[in-house]
Amino acid sequence: MANRTDKEAYTIHGTNPQNLVEYIVRNKIYQTVYWKESCFALTAETLIDKAVDLKAAGGTYGGQDKPTNFMCLILKMLQIQPDKEIIIEYIRNEDFKYVRLLGAFYMRLVGRPLEVYQYLEPLYNDYRKIRVMTKEGKYMVSHVDELVDAMLNKDHLFDIALPRIPTRYALEKTGQLDKRVSVLDEEFDEAMLEQETGTAAERAAQARRHC
């Protein structure tokens, strides 16, 4: 059937990848017109065309908990299971932020903890605005880095229970991950240096006055 997972798909976390989306949400997605009309027979390639047209990210919304188009495409990706390289290509592209978010969210659902940190953390440097559909059916402004942070630290996002990953701290302790270097560190250090030189000069001036 049109909703069946690809025959050659690997199991994810021990089950059918589509099971990552909860049963109720999944069935609601299967019933949407967007799924039946636009998501039919999508490949990882043609999915890009649909993802480019996305207007918002989000889980379900409204009184009937209608799934967003973003959610439909996530389920589609779980169904066709694109290769890891393709997902990395999605994440790496800089022109389309919703394609990037799709890739990142899929990576968070499917990837191993180390991969998740490896591919998602660079997105902390992407400050672009994102529209998020809230539960009440209203739009909310968010940013790519904000959502990536939520993906890495929260248990639930977009009505999906995220698979558990060890915290960054734990991975650092076992030596699997290096300490994260923020691009802001440099700026911060410079600011600190400036402040220090400033205080040093002041102190010197004070000392001169005393003499």
Binding site: M1, R4, K36, A41, E45, P82, I86, E89, N93, D95
Partner: protein
């Protein structure tokens, strides 16, 4: 749909299910030997218009051919679906796509294809010039539509004016034609102007 099938079943001793199965096989190009292998599932290239027959009046009878009955008609499988949801389910379904010679599996796309598609989309995005989008977010099409409406109104106005002018001319002609000039001269008046001087 059930009616004629049941009648057929009585004739041949086949159940309705058997008939349905037989017809499915008849439609399947692989089973008919027309193709060697089913192709990958491909998406529809056309947009489905679910509201095509909305608001239309139609005479519906039980004994009419299926494509004239109420609902959505699938010409591939020669069947009728009563609502849009079941129609969509049908055209996404296994039997329909088998009749089109396709399996239910999509092609695995490669990284290169994905890269190329992303490039294409980028180009398309860049090609969209700024005229398409006015700063306050109004699509150019809205502007064009407004202009077209204005033009239509202008045309209407000119047509009205022309019509009026034509009518006036006709009336004048009728007036002059209706009375014979010679006769009028004989009767002592040349027109409807005043004779006072």
């Amino acid at each position: 749909m059930q009616g004629p099938e049941e009648k057929e079943a009585e004739k041949d001793g086949e159940t309705a299910l058997d008939i349905r199965k037989r017809k499915r096989l008849e439609r399947d190009p692989l089973h008919q030997g027309l193709i060697v292998q089913r192709s990958h599932l491909k998406g529809r290239e056309y947009q489905i218009d679910l509201a095509a027959r909305l608001g239309k009046t139609q005479v519906v009878g039980v004994n009419m051919p299926l494509n004239q009955q109420a609902g959505y008609y699938c010409s591939v499988c020669d069947c009728i679906l009563r609502d849009s949801q079941s129609y969509l389910d049908h055209i996404n379904g296994k039997w329909h796509n088998r009749a089109l010679g396709m399996t239910m599996r999509v092609e695995k796309s490669t990284v290169d294809q994905v890269r190329k598609r992303l490039e294409e989309n980028k180009k398309k995005k860049e090609e969209k010039n700024d005229d398409d989008y006015l700063p306050d977010g109004i699509d150019r099409r809205i502007l064009e539509a407004e202009q077209a409406e204005e033009r239509a109104q202008e045309e209407k106005r000119t047509r009205k004016l022309e019509k009026k002018q034509k009518e006036r001319q006709q009336r004048e002609e009728e007036e002059t034609e209706g009375a014979d000039a010679d006769m009028m001269a004989v009767m002592g008046f040349g027109g409807f102007g005043t004779t006072k001087k």
